[in-house]
Symmetry: C2
Subunit: 247 residues, 2 copies
DNA sequence: TGCATTTTAAATGTCAGACTTTTAAATGTC
DNA sequence: GACATTTAAAAGTCTGACATTTAAAATGCA
């Protein structure tokens, strides 16, 4: 755990990297306690605030957790799914919103992965998964549902589909893709007519999964992707038109 | 940008959350400059070190970058693909290594997503992608290649396949899944015989992509998944046997 | 005037030391 | 033995200072 100097970066970044590398390489194992902040300060020949900044960097990545009091300190954290979800969603959301990625590209990525889930979901779905899907479809039929609630329910439906694969790694990977799309989806205004069509597709998808027909499910997801892109294009054209009017 | 108090968490965590939320919600836009550390300290009614800890947390997530000197400060960072890749890989790697996820589950997730790429890769692959794949296959044929280099080349081959979709979002999502598997793959010792079989499958996959035969490509990836799991099981059985011998 | 150089002020980076709060173990008391 | 009290270790926070970096502003010079 020696620091490498001769770098132009901050000390706190270097120290964080040092410790992070030790964690990733397995030199520091889960629940192991790091030396106290003062001890680390001595070891790295820096002040305590600098060490603290390094530790906060690691805490932000869920690599460590800290505990106050006697026999407290910084402990190597077992990264659990919820932590990983959170990070994944934050990063993905910002990546999409900050890099003017076209709706089509994001949509394609999301549905490609979701279609990869279909066969597994058909094979392994439990009554609970189906119940969640049905419940969200029911919620979607409620009149007067706000656009926000509609989108949230849409996300919940698709997450249930992904979770039906009973593969937590897949769920984790997909969480980012599905949730990160939400801000983009929110730009689409769903008319009663378009909602109806989507609900119909959702129902058919749920049926296909219940009846374990992966091929049909795949077709339906493809159809949903096409329709989603169509809706987005419509919004895009309309906005372009009003923009042209202004200038 | 007011702090919400009445929470039990650290001040620096609260402040980081505050600013993070402002970024995610779009109130703070890319390249905008945050107030100076002293100003933030005043605004949040805390000391400068506390503000600094909050900023370091955000920096660890690539949400901001800092610049020293006059007219420097903290700026909202445009999260680029390399940043996102890095975070994704770190998180995924640790998630897999720390949660005793079975090889089968991780492998299933990875190949499910990779198979989702096949149709797009077939449709859009450029000569460059094919060249990369061929080059990696060639490297794999070299005798005496270390296990480490073999695995690295394997990863490079599969990344080329994913990149062939020409969908950067998909590449980003898959990066985590493929790279995170490497430590698990490293536990498998590849005999000359097993390498030969994998090289053969890689060659057929590259051919299928070149000839744009998605269905065939899918079958080959399924075969590769099966074979990989078979190899892992073999290692597992052997290890269990030696372990039983000891006790 | 126009260009090169110097100065300067603002900001982050770092440090030292003190104080506060939390927490669990050690100790004491009944 | 069970409960209350003390205590020490550690994170959390604050203050104030100094170092370093950087770009803009001021200055000097041809």
């Amino acid at each position: 755990m020696k620091n490498d100097k001769s770098d132009a970066t901050d000390l706190s970044a270097q120290i964080a990297k040092d410790i992070r590398d030790s964690i990733i390489s397995g030199q520091l194992i889960v629940d192991e306690r790091l030396p106290s902040e003062s001890e680390l300060a001595d070891q790295f020949n820096v002040s305590r605030p600098t060490v603290r900044e390094a530790l906060k960097r690691l805490a932000a990545q869920s690599l460590i957790r800290t505990q106050r009091g006697a026999f407290g300190g910084a402990f190597i954290n077992r990264i659990a799914y919820p932590d990983a979800y959170g990070q994944q969603i934050t990063t993905s959301t910002l990546l999409l919103s900050m890099n003017d990625i076209s709706f089509d590209v994001a949509c394609e990525a999301r549905f490609a992965m979701e279609r990869a889930c279909a066969p597994l979901a058909c094979a392994r779905r439990t009554p609970d998964h189906l119940a969640t899907m049905r419940a969200e479809i029911f919620r979607q039929t409620q009149p007067g549902l706000s656009d926000e609630s509609w989108c949230a329910s849409d996300v919940a439906f698709h997450r249930a589909l992904v979770d039906a694969t009973c593969n937590p790694v897949l769920s984790y990977q997909l969480a980012g893709a599905v949730e990160a799309m939400q801000p983009l989806m929110n730009m689409i205004t769903f008319t009663a007519r378009s909602r109806e069509k989507i609900i119909d597709l959702h129902t058919q998808i749920a049926n296909a999964i219940e009846e374990q027909e992966p091929a049909h499910c795949d077709e339906l997801l493809a159809a949903l992707q096409l329709y989603t892109i169509e809706l987005a294009e419509h919004v895009h054209r309309k906005r372009a038109a009003t923009h042209a009017q202004k200038t």
